[in-house]
């Protein structure tokens, strides 16, 4: 990936306007677009060109491993490591293992998802980019990263044309 030279931030007042602006910006071929908005806007992921996250795969695989591990641990403990006759039931009494197996799946899946989320979001982030405090209130920002070959002026003009009432250029 090429180095980001800086970003151009367009500020909007309307969620529909920024949605269309993001859609057009993606169609121009600009990559790694970001939108900073006070609440989720349906369709924004698609407009920005954000693909499905890889985090669900971590959840699935680690959850299944948790299921196998949880069942395996109980089977090993009760039949191999320390065989114990409980109520005359077989050593590997699978119905009794299901609740713990289920919990292990949830636990391992959950913790792995939590860790994967941090990795996916590149957290902890020591230098948060705060463009405007009202972005958590009633303003919407579209962030277009500048790479080699993209002219800052073009992006500014585009954002103004797309309905941004303020455009700021932030150097890296």
């Amino acid at each position: 990936m090429k180095d980001e030279l800086g970003v151009v931030v367009g500020f909007f007042n309307d969620p529909d306007v920024i949605l269309h602006a993001a859609d057009s910006a993606r169609k121009k071929g600009w990559k790694d677009l970001d939108a900073i908005v006070p609440y989720p806007i349906h369709g924004m992921e698609h407009a920005l060109g954000i693909r499905m996250s890889w985090v669900p795969w971590v959840t699935l695989i680690m959850g299944l491993l948790g299921v196998i591990g949880g069942f395996g641990l109980q089977a090993w403990v009760s039949a191999v490591a320390w065989p114990l006759n409980i109520g005359g039931k077989p050593l590997i009494s699978w119905p009794a293992f299901i609740p713990v197996t289920f919990e292990c799946g949830i636990l391992i899946g959950g913790i792995s998802t939590f860790i994967a989320m941090w990795a996916a979001c590149k957290l902890p982030n020591k230098k948060p980019r705060i463009f405007d405090e009202r972005l958590t209130d009633d303003r919407f920002a579209l962030v277009v990263p500048i790479y080699e070959g993209i002219r800052t002026d073009d992006v500014s003009t585009f954002l103004k044309g797309a309905g941004a009432d303020d455009v700021r250029i932030v150097e890296k």
Binding site: D23, H42, G43, E45, H46, A47, M52, L60, G87, P95, A96, I98, P99
Partner: protein, 397 residues
């Protein structure tokens, strides 16, 4: 794909069933009557049991249409408004269920131990609750209660199609909330009377929840199938998207987990406590060939729908959803069959011409009743105050 938001909704109007389907349903009904009559001559107990299995399955669909409608009002859901009329249509079967229940009354003595004279002397304490008279009266009253609420809710919904009056939505919400306690009571007692009392010695406090979970999962599967049919036919094509499919799929998925949880809980508690007066129910149903059916249930009701609906992309595919929902419906039939049949017969599970024929008969009558509704009334609640919001609902597109 980015869709432009709809700003007005045209009523798609009623959808009249194609003649070949109507003919097929009528043929099914005729086959059903013939198979059931033939079955009575060959083996009356088996015929009445297969009647009960199909009766219970389809009566559940009818009341689920009502419950789904009421639930959607009670939680004030928006996205599901485009699906509501599909659910309301299922209630058209309730009057037929009432007639079919009346037909079953003379057959009670063949399948329920409490309907035989022996029972009264052996279980004096239960004879007041479990007698032909009272079970019949309760069964009739419960269906009448369901019909009353269905009539109320569907009538208001249809009236809104004409007037677009927003206050009707509020009234429907009140009636729906009022229905919930009635539903809980009537459905629980229906499952006691019609399925659990097949083994009058046995009891499980999980049983009504088990029946409820089966009804919920299979009812959602049926609604999803009809919804996809109406999308294919074109009536709901303009106002619905794969987002709605995905959400229906998610609901089916959620209640797949619920069904599994309830089914396993009931089994595990009885297995763990190991009390003979409880375990005999499962022992009877896990030997002599029934063990294969017992293993098939979690396959059809858990493995296929759980892994089949885990992925978001698959839930948006009509054909895939149809297959998974079809598997759930098969699972539901097998489940009720597995609960009912071993109570009288000690024989291995056989699904022969009596069972299939009787099932086809019920399916035919159900199909005729429900398609009559869709053919008479618009398949979309097109003037609900929030219908545009519902149609424009999008998840990730």
């Amino acid at each position: 794909m980015h869709h432009t938001a709809l700003t007005q909704i045209e009523s798609p109007g009623p959808v009249v069933l194609a003649t070949k389907w109507r003919t097929a349903f009528i043929a099914c009904a005729v086959i059903g009557v013939a198979a059931f009559a033939g079955g009575l001559a060959v083996d009356a107990a088996r015929a009445w049991q297969s009647y009960l299995v199909s009766y219970f399955m389809f009566a559940c669909f009818g009341v689920f249409g009502l419950f789904f409608t009421a639930l959607h009002h009670a939680v004030n859901a928006t996205w599901v408004i485009v699906v509501r009329r599909v659910a309301e249509g299922l209630t058209a079967y309730l009057p037929i269920a009432l007639v079919l229940f009346l037909v079953m009354i003379p057959g009670l003595k063949y399948i329920y131990p409490w309907a035989t004279p022996d029972f009264v002397t052996h279980y004096p304490a239960k004879r007041e609750w479990l007698s032909v008279l009272w079970v019949s009266v309760r069964g009739i009253v419960f269906i009448l209660v369901w019909m009353f609420f269905a009539w109320k809710l569907v009538r208001m919904s249809l009236k809104q199609d004409e007037t677009g009056e927003p206050s009707l939505t509020r009234k429907m919400i009140y009636w729906s909330i009022a229905f919930m306690p009635f539903f809980a009571g009537t459905f629980s007692m229906t499952s006691f009377d019609q399925l659990m009392s097949l083994e009058p010695k046995w009891y499980s406090t999980m049983f009504p929840v088990y029946c409820f979970a089966g009804m919920f999962q299979s009812g959602l599967a049926l609604i999803t199938i009809i919804f996809i049919m109406l999308r294919r036919q074109g009536a709901l094509r303009a106002v619905t998207t794969p987002s709605h499919l995905k959400d229906l799929g998610t609901l089916v998925f959620a209640f797949t987990i619920f069904m599994t949880y309830i089914g396993f809980s009931q089994y595990m508690l009885i297995w763990y406590a190991n009390l003979p007066e409880e375990t005999f129910y499962f022992i009877k149903r896990s030997e002599g060939g029934w063990q294969y059916l017992f293993i098939a249930l979690p396959v059809f009701k858990f493995v296929i729908p759980f892994f089949g609906l885990l992925s978001q992309g698959l839930k948006r595919m009509e054909n895939w959803l149809l297959m998974v929902c079809g598997a759930i419906l098969i699972g539901q039939y097998l489940d009720i069959f597995w609960m009912v049949r071993p109570s009288v017969s000690g024989s291995a599970p056989v699904i022969g011409w009596i069972e299939i024929g009787t099932f086809l008969g019920f399916a035919g009558l159900f199909g005729l009743a429900v398609s009559w509704f869709y053919g008479k009334y618009s398949v979309l609640a097109s003037r609900d105050p929030r219908i545009i919001e519902s149609a424009n609902w999008r998840f990730w597109e």
